[in-house]
Amino acid sequence: MIKTEHLTKTYQSGGGTLVALDRVNLHVAKGEFIAITGRSGSGKSTLLYQLGMLDHPTSGTLYIEGVNMARLTSSERTRYRLGELGYVFQDYAVIPSLTALENVMLPLLMQGTTRRAAERTAVHALERIGVGDKLHNLPSQLSGGQQQRVAIARAIGHHPKIIFADEPTANLDSETSRVVLDAFLTLHREGQTIVMVTHEKEYAAIADRVIELSDGAMVGDTRRK
């Protein structure tokens, strides 16, 4: 489903060149649950943002379902993200002026879904994730775990092909983290492709594969037995 060839990302920093990703070759199959780990600064999030088409590589190629993403225009990339990809960010990243229901409805409305259909789908997604009783709450009225689950519901509401999660448990306590990870596992069991960044080895262990990065390069690729 996802394939990278010599994916490289560099930044100009203080007169020198910082290599954030160094010729990463990665293949993610449909339905896989991938965890990307590594120390701080190893390039985990950088790789995630490249795979999620939130950034452009300096060199190398990204293919999603065989399509070279570099060939897409900016608006095509936006539409692709909208239709095919879902995101869960580290600090929930729900829109503060929208209720839980409205946050999940938003991508659906952008796809052209009618208001009623979007609402139905959003309600279903929120109930699936276990926050069906918080539909009309603003993010400020939700706990961290609840907000993260709203973010997950938003990510899955439009049935994306791939979900990208960047440190989804970073700001949560262990119990709430378990709840969120259980949600991911449930989705995975239903066939969802998930790519998750985490620095917690314990959380990475729930994935099918653990990719380890160090200084921007892939140094490990372990499959769970």
Partner: protein, 422 residues
């Protein structure tokens, strides 16, 4: 395949979705403050120009109501008077649109006061010159309401012998200007005996009242009963110099003018509607003041646009991360920009609606019944619906642009940088 129009509609729909919720959940006092600023801007656009134009419109209205009325007839060029004035008046009175007519004799005259006091041979009595209008007091009052403008004294009656009303401009008390060539009466007042001279004929008369109507043609005149003026100057014909005609409400002065011309009156008199008889300088001043009002209004518009720009820019900058997230999850830039534009338009719409209510429910009626007392006119507020609508649309367009530009600046920033706060 979805067409570009469908994409546009979707972006608009999502923009509305975001804008409504943003406005609904924004700080109420901030929202009210912005709307208040918009309202003040709109009022500035309308009221400043409206008062400036109204200053002159007040003069125009005064000339119309108090001097020319709806139609005014005057002698043809190189003619001393309106020929066959009696028949003209009869013809005019016969029209169904006419409600009242007044005929005036107009002669140049001079008033002398203080002439009985002994003086040195080289001294002259104080005097003032003006046009003497011989009128039927009742007719004149029916057409122009002249009696309303009595500043002092009492109004003429048809049997008043040797009594005059004088315009306030002839008195130093009301025109305190010391200028060579401008002579006014300093010691005379109501009840004073003065000497009136018209075409070399002199008569002692008493000042019965002083008129102040803020119309030059009225405030510079000396009024006496028409029969008395005819006797003074030895005229036996009944041909007059002005005929003012008041029409029923709703009557079209142009149409009545055409009727009079068709009846042959145009060969005996110059027939003008009130607008044709307006002094050109008034029209010129009105146009200049309107321009001035537009310039001042434009400055206010620029200030309001900058205010909206700053409000939307600060709003967008503080929500930079949210905007980045929206873009990240696939909400296109058009929808996000649209939501900010719609917020700006909302503020402008509310401001113009409130401003319009203030103008038409409060200000216009208030100034109509309590005109601003300028020395030379009663100033009103002129705010035509067409002009107000045009200015509202201009304000809406300006704020839409002022809302779009900052939104576009922020939305165009790198998505990932916005999400990560870089």
């Amino acid at each position: 395949m979805r067409t570009r129009f469908h994409h546009f509609l979707t972006a608009l729909s999502v923009g509305v979705f975001l804008a409504v919720r943003e406005i609904r959940r924004a700080n109420l006092w901030t929202t009210l403050l912005i709307i208040f600023v918009m309202m003040l801007t709109f009022l500035n656009l309308i009221v400043v120009g409206g008062i400036l134009v109204g200053l002159i419109q007040g003069s125009t209205n005064a000339v119309h109501e108090r001097y020319s009325s709806d139609l005014i007839l005057s002698p043809l060029s190189r003619h001393a008077y309106i020929e066959e004035s009696g028949r003209a008046v009869a013809l005019i009175k016969g029209l169904p649109e006419v409600t009242a007519v007044t005929a005036r004799y107009i002669e140049a005259g001079r008033i002398e006061a203080d002439y009985k006091k002994s003086r040195r041979p080289s001294d002259v009595p104080e005097s003032a010159g003006g046009l003497v209008a011989g009128i039927n007091p009742a007719d004149e009052n029916r057409v122009t309401g002249l009696a309303r403008f009595l500043k002092e004294g009492s109004y003429l009656r048809s049997d008043d012998y040797d009594q005059v009303l004088m315009g306030a401009n002839l008195f130093y008390k009301y025109t305190p200007i010391d200028s060579p060539g401008l002579s006014t009466l300093r010691t005379a007042g109501v009840g004073s005996k003065v000497r009136l001279t018209v075409h070399g004929f002199t008569r002692e008369v008493t000042i019965k009242g002083i008129i102040k109507a803020k119309v030059g043609e009225l405030d510079q005149r000396i009024y006496m009963v028409d029969a008395e003026l005819r006797t003074l100057i030895g005229r036996s014909d009944l041909n007059v110099d002005e005929i003012a005609v008041k029409l029923i409400p709703g009557a079209n002065p142009d149409a009545v003018k055409q009727k009079l011309i068709a009846a042959g009156l145009g060969e005996r008199a110059k027939v003008q509607t009130w607008s044709e008889a307006q002094p050109k300088f008034l029209t010129d001043i009105k146009d200049t003041f309107a321009l001035l009002g537009n310039v001042i209004g434009t400055i206010g518009l620029i200030v309001a646009s900058i205010t909206i720009f700053i409000v939307i820019f600060v709003n967008a900058i503080t929500r930079r991360r949210s905007i980045g997230i929206l873009k990240g999850i696939g909400i296109n830039a058009a929808a996000i920009q649209c939501s900010y534009m719609l917020q700006a338009i909302f503020y402008a719409l509310m401001g113009t609606a409130l401003g319009s209510a203030v103008i038409y429910v409060m200000l216009v009626p208030y100034f109509a019944s309590h005109p601003i007392n300028f020395p030379f006119s009663d100033g009103i507020l002129v705010a035509s619906p067409a002009g107000t609508t045009l200015r509202a649309l201009i304000l809406l367009a300006a704020t839409a642009i002022a809302g779009f530009i900052p939104a576009r600046i922020v939305v165009r920033q790198n998505t990932l940088d916005a999400i990560l706060g870089r």
